[in-house]
């Protein structure tokens, strides 16, 4: 009985120890990958924030109004320019 059991257990120990090393290695690798992805996520988030800011700064109402009036010569339509459609 022990003659079969002993080598079997030894074999199992060898296999599990190898498996542990393997999973350890994999978990390290995955963690590094996760970190890299998180960093990318953060970088994209930062970029998005910056773009949002840029858009908001460029789209300031004061700036748009100024550009529309001076550069594009636009005016607010007066009451007489508006045509009202009624039924």
């Amino acid at each position: 009985m022990t003659r079969i059991l002993c080598p079997l257990l030894v074999g199992l120990v060898v296999i599990t120890s190898l498996a542990i090393t393997l999973t350890r290695h994999q978990s390290r690798k995955l963690f590094v990958e996760l970190q890299a992805l998180e960093q990318r996520h953060d970088a994209m988030n930062d970029e998005w924030g910056r773009l949002q800011l840029e858009q908001a700064t460029l789209g300031t109402h004061g700036r748009i109004e100024e550009r529309a009036r001076s550069a594009l010569n636009m005016t607010m339509p007066s009451v007489t320019d508006v045509i009202i459609v009624t039924d």
Partner: protein, 578 residues
């Protein structure tokens, strides 16, 4: 004969000494391995493992259409390790030059912090500067990532949004009131570092950083901008000391715009006086004057003291109450309630007010929220003052009737006008976007509210508020011109607050606005001259922005018909010109 020397004894002694020594070492090793593992491993880890803090983003503040009003973005701060920096004194001038400080300043800064491991030298530097400093490649100079808060709308929303300090803690306004909500929880992770403090490997995450939650305000940035532009222009034109304007959505009680003058740029707060930070629309109180008269009328209608057609003699334009004299600008003679409102007759309103039971008017005003917090939750919001009627004298009933002897904020006044706009119901006001409509609270009957709204319309159509008129819309509103309290007591003859409270479109109001101009100094000081035009200009744009259909299209139609006739007579194809 050579004596054979026997070293057996010595050999045995040396060998046993080695054995004992080895046994001691083994025993020690086993002992340490078994009992002290944790401590020793910890000491070992200390040499290379570091816990690094991961900063969490503060939530974004947006307007009601998710336009950003306050955004956090990462910036670099320049830090130094004093112990390392002192070994490269030759590079100090270059560092000082790059940062734009003098050599002495840098030297003094480092010398006074020699015992510190790491100190931040210049915080929140522009990216180009950070790059330049790193290009110098000085031992002991490092960059640290921090976040900086930007306010893209700048001075337009400065008072509502508020600002944070350099460490991202809310200091004023919404940033302070909702600090808990916006603030993130920073996390940490363990890393392996080399001798120079560079991260070699990320080991594990201890705690993931939790970003703060976003917050949507009730503010509509477009209306806020229009209100800010017009208020600023008016305050400048009249050389006033200050000004405020509040715009409310009548259906939800949300604040669509709250602007003040003077304002400040929250992105650059150097050289600022504390008074510029105040959100005057919510924190500063004034006596509301004639803008209270509609509530007096409503109170009288509710109690049956007067009817719509009751005529009141306001001649000869003055009235003595106790030791005081109430005056009108002119002798208006016989007036009904509509006339009293549209002419803003103090004598007429006084006669009505003293005919009321003291508790009646007080109950109406208290029910409208005067003298109590609006519930906006804004830091430093004023509650105003409304004295309980038990302490009144006769004159108090009269003065209260035309808006003296109580003090209110612009927001309180706007929220009280909700009663006229919503057929007698008031709603709690809110500075944040509401997920659903609150249920209102009735403060006067539907018919009284509608009757008084008609009187307010008359005040704009043919009375003191004529400059608040907007072509195409029916406008209801009331002007107010209030003497400011003099420093030595009593009222100042030459210092005024100009007010206008109004709503549009009068047939079914969608917007309420209160404009307050403090001490106009260019001669004109009547609410109808100073504050009403601001209302008209802001509402003209606001109705267009919100697509509120005109409810008085008659003045708009003739041109339209002429144009159509022109098209027909010219026998052109029915194409509308661009």
């Amino acid at each position: 004969m050579v004596r054979r020397l026997s070293f057996d004894g010595r050999r045995r002694f040396v060998v046993s000494a080695f054995v004992v020594g080895a046994a001691l070492l083994v025993w020690r090793a086993v002992y340490l391995q078994l009992t002290e593992t944790d401590v020793l491993q910890g000491h070992g880890a200390d040499r290379y493992l570091r816990t690094v803090e991961l900063p969490a983003h503060r939530g974004t503040i947006t307007d009601r259409h998710n336009e950003p009003l306050a955004v956090s973005t990462p910036v670099s701060s320049v830090g130094v390790i004093p112990s390392k920096l002192t070994q490269v004194r030759g590079r100090w001038p270059a560092l000082a030059r790059a940062l734009g400080i003098s050599g002495q300043e840098l030297s003094a800064f480092v010398q006074s912090r020699l015992e510190r491991r790491f100190v931040l030298l210049r915080r929140h530097v522009p990216p180009e500067l950070a790059e330049e400093v790193m290009r110098l490649d000085i031992d002991g100079v490092e960059l640290r990532q921090e976040v900086h808060r930007y306010y893209p709308a700048g001075e337009v929303t400065a008072h509502c949004v508020g600002f944070t300090d350099i460490d991202d803690n809310g200091q004023e306004g919404i940033e302070l009131a909702y600090d808990e909500h916006l603030r993130g929880v920073s996390g940490s992770k363990r890393v392996i570092q080399d001798l120079n403090g560079h991260v070699v490997e990320n080991v594990e995450s201890v705690r993931a950083p939790q970003p703060g939650r976003d917050l949507a305000l009730s503010i509509d940035k477009r209306i806020q901008y229009v209100a800010y532009r017009e208020l600023k222009a008016a305050v400048r034109e009249h050389q006033a000391r200050a000004g405020s304007m509040v715009v409310l959505d009548t259906q939800t009680g949300e604040v669509l715009a709250a602007v003040n003058q003077p304002s400040y740029n929250p992105n650059n707060r150097k050289q600022l006086r504390a008074g510029y930070f105040r959100n005057r629309a919510l924190t500063d109180t004034f006596e509301p004057g004639s803008t209270i008269k509609p509530f007096t009328i409503a109170s009288a209608l509710e109690s049956g003291a007067i009817g719509v057609k009751t005529m009141i003699d306001t001649g000869p334009g003055t009235l003595r109450v106790g030791r005081h004299t109430v005056r009108d600008l002119h002798d208006y003679g016989l007036l009904d309630a509509t006339g009293i409102i549209s002419k803003s007759s103090n004598v007429g309103i006084t006669k009505i007010a003293i005919s009321l039971e003291p508790g009646q008017l007080w109950g109406m005003l208290a029910g409208l929220g005067f003298g109590a917090a609006t519930g906006s939750g804004f830091p430093g919001e004023a509650v105003g003052r409304l004295q309980h009627y038990a302490a009144w004298r006769t004159i108090d009933n009269a003065t209260l009737g035309f808006g003296y002897g109580l003090s209110v904020t612009a927001l309180q006044l706007a929220s009280a006008y909700l009663a006229f706009a919503n057929d007698g119901m008031v709603l709690p006001v809110s500075l944040t976007r509401l997920p659903e409509r609150h249920t209102g609270r009735r403060v006067m009957s539907r018919s009284s509210a509608q009757t008084v709204r008609g009187m307010l319309e008359a005040a704009v159509r043919q009375g003191t508020g004529a400059l608040a008129r907007i072509t195409g819309y029916r406008v209801a509103g009331k002007t107010g011109t209030v003497h400011k309290l003099a420093r030595g007591g009593g009222y100042a003859e030459d210092r005024y607050v100009s007010l206008f409270a109004g709503m549009i479109p009068a047939s079914q109001p969608r917007l309420i606005a209160v404009t307050m101009i403090d001490e106009p100094a260019r001669g004109e000081h009547f609410g109808g001259q100073v504050a009403a035009p601001v209302f008209a200009r802001v509402m003209r744009d606001a109705t267009r922005l919100l697509d509120i259909p005109p409810d008085d299209i008659a003045p708009l139609l003739p041109q339209n018909e002429q144009f159509l006739t022109r098209v027909h007579t010219a026998d052109l194809p029915p194409v509308i010109r661009p």
